[in-house]
Amino acid sequence: MNIKRYWKMIATLSVIVLTIGTFYIQSSFAASEFPDITFKTVSGSEEELDNLTINASYHEAELYQRVTINRQGSTFQEQLPFYERFFGSSMYPEINRYEKDYRNFMRGKVGGTNLFFEDDSVLVYADVMYEGYNHNTRITDYSFNIDVLDKQAVENHSTELSVPNGNDYAWISVEDVQIVQDKLIVITRNQLSNRSGDEEKEEEVHGYTFDLETLKLENNQELLSIPRGDEESFSRLSMMNDNLNVEPEKYFLISKVVMEQGVLEESHEEYEGTEMEVNEAPNNMIATEQSIFVYDYETAKMEELNLPNELESLLESARVTVQNNLIYFMNQQEGSLEVTSYNIETEQIDIEQTFNLNRTSTHEPFIKINQDRLYLITASSEDIGKDIDVMIASLSTGELLYEGKIEVTEKDNSTDYELFINDIDTK
């Protein structure tokens, strides 16, 4: 073969291979140039970090990457092998774990951790599906989609059954799934539709009880409802339980706020624990009534909490989270965080601790409570995402167990990056 006659083709081929090859080699080189993100201990025991995983977004120039940070270091999305990027696509680590451990059971199950319940023996999935509007019967149908996996036997049994009075609702969302002895309880928020005929009610919270064996619906309890809002006043419900929690819980807490027309209120934003999809308050409304309702899974009773006055007054400004029988009120002050816990069972204040925050931050810190540990991550507002403090403290003693920083070591010494914390996981 006479090479000379092929030179044009060979030249073209060389240009292609060299150009495209160089481009992608450089790209993958750039991927290996990801910075190292590590914890830098200031004081305390580094072992406290063992349970902590931070999901963050890293942004530098052309790069926008998801990154997970733990004690061992950081892993950027693009550093994962090609095939592994297909796993762990869920934003919930718990669900990623299920997909790994119960691969076949998890098929076709989408949604967040609020749809799951897990204990030592079972993994339960419960969702309400919109089945569509039938033009002939003029009925909107919703159905429960329940699947229970027996972990030991690796067997599952499932059911699909209609939601009673489905036609009344514009949408239904599952908030929590629990098992109490041989009963399966699904808590839902049901938004009433215009055709329900009920002009009074806006939204209902339901507790549906199923027999765990037969998966038959045994009880349909309306736990709480709020009236339709108007220009004068309207109400809002928020579910207070950590919806990332799939473990057994004893109580389900709902906060209810009634807003009324009043003087112009300084707009304040609420973060975690409040869902504001529906009927966001007009700015000139103020909260006139705030209360917390507790549903006891065991007794299937709903009660309004009688909070001590000092806590009642915190309801508006503090962040509230629930763990087992304790309600934590976290009130951020200039330079400090006050944590007060209230025991639902004893109806007493359990602990009161004040933690010093290292820097004054107007940014809402990420706070997570797990058992006796308080995890706190703050970012300074002046220098977004560059100076992140990590603090781990004991709730019972108030002792600071760990204090440190998240440190980004750029390979090219650039400081032109931003790091945003998306979520923290303390398992």
Binding site: Y6, T12, L13, I16, T19, F82
Partner: protein, 277 residues
């Protein structure tokens, strides 16, 4: 194999003139575009600074800094890319039909070569692929060239320098041509190549059965598309979210391979048994 390479070389040289013209247009237009757009910016800036007597800060506030993004948005930049794409799309058909039409009967020669006729099909497909990659490479080379033009024309205080990657990520259409990882690059162009093979098969249907062949070709094309999207249809409508991403990816790879194999097998059959001059 040897004859296949010779055929590729032959097909490549046949289109070379038009191809070089395409490359020429791309280079000229994109450099010119960079000059014109930069010049326009300079004029606007001069107007603000010297006619309206604004301060530098105020002028920058109003006009903003210029970056290569502004150049990629011009018809000078996008035009040649569109021309190249359209030309290659047309050539995908022309590469076959030119052998049948005209005064010569070159298809007699091609079909009477002492080599499997499917090599002609492969050679033509390879040529298209080579041309596509060639233009892709040229475009990739033109990005730093255009950027350099911008840097020459605009003082550093008035421009934002972007890396090649930033230029690409700031413009969706370019991301299709140059996806961010090599895997995606392979996937994009593998799909493109499969499309070429399917279109070739449809053309051979037409060339074998003429009018009826157009119908067969369209049916074949629809069938190929159906096979290819079948896993996605299953995932979306029949078994919602049943497959995990990696499984869906594997199924798509299989579906793609089925489509490609079917195309090659069908084309081989048509070329051997049904084709006419």
């Amino acid at each position: 194999m040897n004859r296949y390479i010779k055929l590729v070389n032959f097909e490549f040289n046949r289109f070379l003139k038009i191809y070089l013209v395409l490359i020429g247009i791309t280079i000229a237009s994109q450099i010119l575009g960079a000059i014109i757009r930069s010049n326009q910016y300079l004029n606007d800036m001069n107007d603000l600074l010297y006619e309206q007597l604004m301060t530098r800060e105020a002028a920058l506030e109003q006009l903003g800094k210029i970056s290569f993004y502004h150049i990629t948005q011009t018809v000078w930049f996008m035009g040649p890319i569109a021309i190249c794409i359209v030309t290659l799309l047309i050539y995908m058909f022309f590469i076959w039909y030119r052998d049948w039409f005209g005064k010569n009967t070159f298809i007699y020669r091609l079909l009477m070569l002492p080599t499997a006729r499917i090599n002609v099909y492969f050679a033509k497909a390879t040529t298209i692929l080579l041309m596509v990659f060639g233009l892709v490479a040229i475009q990739l080379l033109m990005l730093p060239v255009g950027r350099r033009v911008l840097q020459w024309m605009i003082p550093v205080d008035f421009r934002v320098d972007q890396t090649i990657r930033e230029i690409l990520t700031s413009f969706d259409y370019l991301m299709i041509l140059f996806p961010s990882t090599f895997y995606e690059f392979v996937i994009h162009y593998a799909i493109g190549f499969a499309v070429v093979l399917v279109v070739f098969t449809a053309i051979l249907f037409e060339r074998s059965f003429r009018w009826k062949g157009i119908v067969f070709g369209l049916i074949f094309g629809a069938f190929a598309v159906t096979i290819f999207i079948f896993p996605v249809i299953v995932q979306a409508f029949i078994l919602p979210e049943f497959f995990y991403p990696i499984e869906l990816f594997a199924l798509e790879c299989i579906a793609g391979l089925v489509v490609v194999s079917l195309s090659i097998w069908t084309s081989n059959y048509l070329l051997k048994k049904k084709i006419r001059v």
